[in-house]
């Protein structure tokens, strides 16, 4: 039950005589790791985990050449299994929700700040509203709003006919524009930090 990286690579290669047993062993290890990783997610039941491990094995075996040996093989394989399982959980959680509704729905107000904090924060927050309204593209605004409301990137991407990397780029570009817009209005990194320092 204990293989090092070179042994995994050799055992999982298509030419290996031990390939079937190595794949079974990897399946068991990934199942055990996913159980632990997702123990606090009620929707990740045993059937869900087994499906996720099966999808993960396909992905991992198809990407063996991308493993560079910079970590333990099993850690690397586990990151892929977690990505696949979590993406599926998020997809299921958000699949019946419309992107337009998420973007348009009001988000709840929870925390009430003290008067001083409120005055300064309001100024910077109003500036943010202005930059978002006037300097972001429609898509950047949509992605940023939906993500801040917790919608899964995979579902935002599906609604936009896009993918997670493209959604990330839209979000990143939106944050950069906000940073530039705030800097131009005199809010540098220090004054942003000051908002949180109280």
């Amino acid at each position: 039950m204990s293989r090092n990286n070179a042994a995994w690579a050799a055992a999982l290669s298509p030419q290996s005589a031990q390939r079937n047993s190595a794949v079974s062993e990897l399946r068991e290890l990934l199942l055990r790791n996913l159980r632990k990783a997702l123990s606090s997610y009620p929707r990740a039941d045993e059937a869900f985990l087994e499906d996720a491990v099966q999808d993960s094995l396909v992905r991992i075996l198809g990407r063996l050449d991308q493993f560079e040996g910079r970590s333990r093989f099993l850690t690397w394989a586990t990151t892929i299994a977690i990505r696949i399982a979590m993406t599926e959980l998020r997809r299921k959680r958000w699949q019946d929700v419309s992107l337009d509704e998420v973007v348009a729905s009001p988000s709840s107000q929870q925390h009430a700040a003290g008067p001083d904090e409120q005055v300064e924060r309001n100024a910077i927050i109003e500036k943010m509203r202005e930059v978002i309204a006037t300097q972001l593209t429609e898509k950047q605004r949509t992605v940023l709003t939906a993500e801040m409301k917790g919608m899964a990137q995979v579902e935002i991407a599906r609604h936009l006919g896009s993918n997670r990397n493209a959604v990330y780029k839209l979000n990143h570009d939106a944050r950069k524009k906000l940073k530039q817009g705030l800097e131009a209005a005199g809010y540098d990194a220090d004054s942003i930090q000051a908002v949180f320092a109280r």
């Binding site: 039950m1 290890l29 990783a37 970590s71 333990r72 099993l74 990151t79 990505r83 709003t145 993500e147």
Partner: protein, 83 residues
Amino acid sequence: MSLSNEKLKDLLWLVGLTNENELNCEQCLALVAEFAECELAGKSISDGLKAVEQHLSVCSECREEYEALQRVLDGIEGDTSKK
């Protein structure tokens, strides 16, 4: 646009952490195993891996996956040496 002041404050925090160049989620995935093992071993983080740390600070989904990985890392036994 319908973000509350509270959400905008959360966003402001992320704007403060935003870098000109960032890894995307796929690039983060390729490096996060190495990052997690370094963290666990208490090793210093190389410049290449600092980009992972920065991505995790601004991407809630990758951070959620990283936290899940941390829950299992102590228990990995099937594969104990690197070479």
